[in-house]
């Protein structure tokens, strides 16, 4: 009896046994918790006479969606397009603002981050004011500000402001740009571009190798640029310019409703999209600027001094010594900012930009009422976007991180 008890106690006090017991308990409670959620959902859905299923995706959607990249890509037409199309349109529109926002925010963020470290007082002060102003105002407020500021400052649908007369014009309905329509034979130009990319890639490798071996510098950047533009251009001209440019059309006469920019001529960027893009980029740029500043300041001053001692000029010092070392500090938090930007794009629902949350988890959800399935589908999209961004940035991080020798 006594020995039994001591044996039990021995097992209990054994760290290995104890850790196994705790892990088993944790797994059991996780499994039970998950089962409880699923069962509870099923029971409640049944109580509400609702079924679970994805059959609704093939039903046709009976509502119109504002003209955007998504509706153009998936050829949205009321009465024939399905809820699955609506889903894809939402994804395309979300992806568009996220992608454009990331590019614009990165450029702005790096500019402001470096400006904040500038010796020039005006640059430094401007950057500081910008950063403190944008990152301390909630994004939703900025979104409304930009949207209504954009709307209020533009002429109405019957008027316009010419950015380039007869080519680019803007009014409250949108920014009208010319659109290029490829004709037969345009694929040759695309091929020429692809070939130019491949040649540039190998040329760069060759130039780096030669520089390392012999010290002679080949102007790889300019050569590459010339190749990337020149080769497709020559092919394009030789094949007879197979691209028709369609310009926006503006009418000033006729019935009032028919005046203004004409539907179907040229390309239009709606103000909703412009406002989302602008506010997401400007907001995120402030955070990126601080990350860039932190990254640059993390590089030891001795590095600059050593470079100067080697006779390098300020510009190459920044480009070849400071930035590469700063990147390893910058990349991980930069990734988080990219993920934030993508997820913040869901706020666009407030100003009628038809992204995923608005058209799919909003309008479509209200028509079919499949909350669980649709929210699940929406979450999967954000998860996939985020994971893909993470994977790419981790790969990039692995490339630029400090290699200890």
């Amino acid at each position: 009896m006594n020995s039994d008890k001591s044996l039990l106690l021995k097992y209990l006090y054994d760290t290995r046994t104890r850790s196994i017991i705790f892990q088993v308990l944790l797994i059991l409670s996780l499994v039970f918790g998950f089962w409880w959620i699923v069962d509870n959902t099923a029971v409640n859905l049944q109580a509400q006479n609702k079924s679970v299923g994805f059959g609704f995706l093939t039903q046709t959607a009976g509502f119109a969606i504002s003209d955007t990249l998504g509706t153009w890509l998936f050829d949205y037409e009321v009465g024939t397009s399905t809820y699955l199309d609506v889903y894809f349109i939402g994804i395309a529109n979300t992806f568009l603002v996220a992608f454009l926002g990331i590019i614009f925010a990165t450029i702005l963020g790096f500019t402001f981050g470096i400006m904040r470290l500038s010796q020039n007082f005006v640059f430094r002060a401007f950057s500081t004011v910008y950063i403190e102003l944008t990152r301390n105002i909630p994004l939703l407020v900025q979104l409304f500000f930009w949207y209504f500021a954009v709307l209020r400052s533009l002429p109405n649908a019957r008027g316009k402001v010419d950015i380039i007369p007869d080519v680019i014009g803007i009014n409250i309905v949108g920014l009208y740009l010319p659109s290029a329509i490829p004709q037969d034979g345009f694929s040759l130009t695309m091929w020429a571009f692809a070939i130019a990319v491949v040649i540039t890639f190998f040329m760069n490798r060759w130039a780096t190798k030669r520089q390392q071996e012999t010290g002679r510098i080949f102007p790889a950047f300019w050569a590459g640029l010339g190749l990337l533009i020149g080769l497709p251009l020559i092919v394009f001209l030789v094949s007879g310019s197979p691209l028709v440019v369609e310009y926006p059309e503006f009418k000033e006469t006729g019935p009032i409703l028919k005046r203004g920019f004409q539907k179907g001529a040229g390309m239009v960027l709606v103000p909703e999209m412009l406002a989302v893009w602008l506010s997401l980029s400007l907001y995120t740029a402030a955070f990126i600027a601080e990350i860039v500043r932190a990254g640059i300041m993390a590089v030891n001053k001795g590095q600059t001094e050593a470079s100067l001692a080697l006779g390098l000029k300020p510009n190459p010092i920044l480009r070849l010594v400071i930035i590469p070392q700063a990147m390893r500090v910058i990349i991980p938090p930069l990734t988080s900012q990219y993920l934030n930007l993508t997820k913040n794009s869901s706020l666009a629902i407030a100003i009628a930009y038809p992204e995923l949350v608005s058209v799919f988890a909003g309008t479509a959800l209200n028509q079919v009422g499949k909350e669980i399935e649709m929210i699940f589908m929406m979450m999967s999209v954000y998860l996939t976007f985020s994971i893909l961004t993470s994977i790419f940035m981790n790969w990039f991080n692995a490339r630029v991180k400090l290699v200890e020798r």
Binding site: F144, L151, L257, T363
Partner: protein, 329 residues
């Protein structure tokens, strides 16, 4: 939050028992639609839809003030109701077949017969919706209006561009700024929102009514008792108007000789309240504290309010309208 509430809804007690236990009716209303459900500066909610919630509270507790309000967007409303966050949804919600059959909801009646209309700036010079080919149209997401306007333009072979916002305030602001040529929603909504425009007189509501929008209170499916309470609270208000019983004269019915119909309504005869799980003076309390349907209508949306909505089809069936409640007997 969602799961635990839903669980309370299905495994637990009936909605009536829950409401009694917590001491108030949780009512889903709009985020501010003057005349229907709107909060004033000190946070008091008023309106035709709000009166229905108050009527239910009067029937259940004998006190119309025992209501708490949840302002909901069009998009949130059904989820809020089915998850158990609110007990009644009284938020100018259109009764449609899909909503009745697929969303796990029940419509307890109609408290306003509406139809979708369109408002345009007078400067546009349009006199009919059929002239609106190619127009930019602003509306709300998550409503039947998106579907109706799409149907209407398709049926008439007209093109249009739909700009759908989440909240009504943004729709009004965008339309006011000139983003759209047309603002479309239920005609009652147009009348209510018009006051928010910079220059309300520079806009005109087009004559076309492009849909049927029977608006009414909604409850969860599967609790017939609660469904009956909400349905008969509304019916009691309509019947009271028909019998000429108002908040002013309902007291007298307790002492004076009344017709059998009135006696049943105010609980002097029969045990209609007990059959609902309430006290027999349930309807008396509604009429006393909230008033009959006509009183509520005139007070919030009628000719003497900023909305200036004529009774029209919402008049009683005895007066040329279609407002008709089954008898209490």
């Amino acid at each position: 939050m969602l799961a635990s509430n839903a669980m309370a809804g299905s495994h637990g007690d009936s909605t009536l028992a829950q409401v009694k236990a917590k001491g108030f009716v949780q009512c889903g209303v709009s985020q501010g639609l003057p005349g229907f459900s709107n909060a004033d500066d000190s946070g008091n909610w008023t309106g035709l839809d709000v009166d229905l919630c108050r009527a239910v509270a009067a029937a259940v507790f004998g006190d119309a003030s025992k209501v708490k309000y949840s302002p909901l967007s069009a998009k949130q409303r059904f989820t809020a109701l089915s998850s158990g966050e609110v007990d009644i949804l009284s938020r100018n919600t259109t009764w449609t077949m899909t909503r009745d059959t697929q969303l796990g909801l029940n419509f307890a009646g109609v408290n306003y017969y509406d139809g979708q209309g369109m408002m345009v700036p007078t400067a546009l010079g349009a006199t009919s919706a059929l002239e609106l080919d190619g127009a930019n149209i602003c509306t709300n997401t998550g409503t039947t209006t998106e579907l109706n306007i799409t149907d209407y333009f398709r049926a008439n072979n007209m093109s249009f561009n739909l700009v759908a916002f989440e909240k009504a305030d943004e729709v009004v602001a965008a339309y006011d700024a000139g983003r759209c040529d047309v603002y479309t929603t239920d005609r009652s909504g147009l009348a209510a929102q018009r006051g928010k425009l910079t220059n309300p007189d520079a806009h005109v509501v087009l004559p076309e009514i492009i849909s049927k929008e029977p608006l009414g209170p909604v409850v969860r499916q599967g609790d017939d008792q609660w469904f009956n309470i909400v349905r008969w609270s509304l019916n009691a208000m309509i019947n009271a108007e028909e019998m000429g019983i108002t908040s002013a004269n309902v007291n007298a019915t307790q002492y004076n000789k009344v017709t059998p119909g009135v006696a049943r309504l105010v609980g002097k005869e029969g045990n209609f309240g007990e059959e609902l799980g309430l006290s027999n003076d349930w309807a008396y309390n509604i009429i006393k504290q909230v008033g009959n349907y006509g009183e509520s209508y005139e007070k919030h949306v009628g000719e003497n309010t900023p909305l200036k909505l004529a009774r029209g089809v919402n008049a009683l069936w005895t007066k040329g309208g279609i407002m008709y409640a089954p008898p209490i007997r």
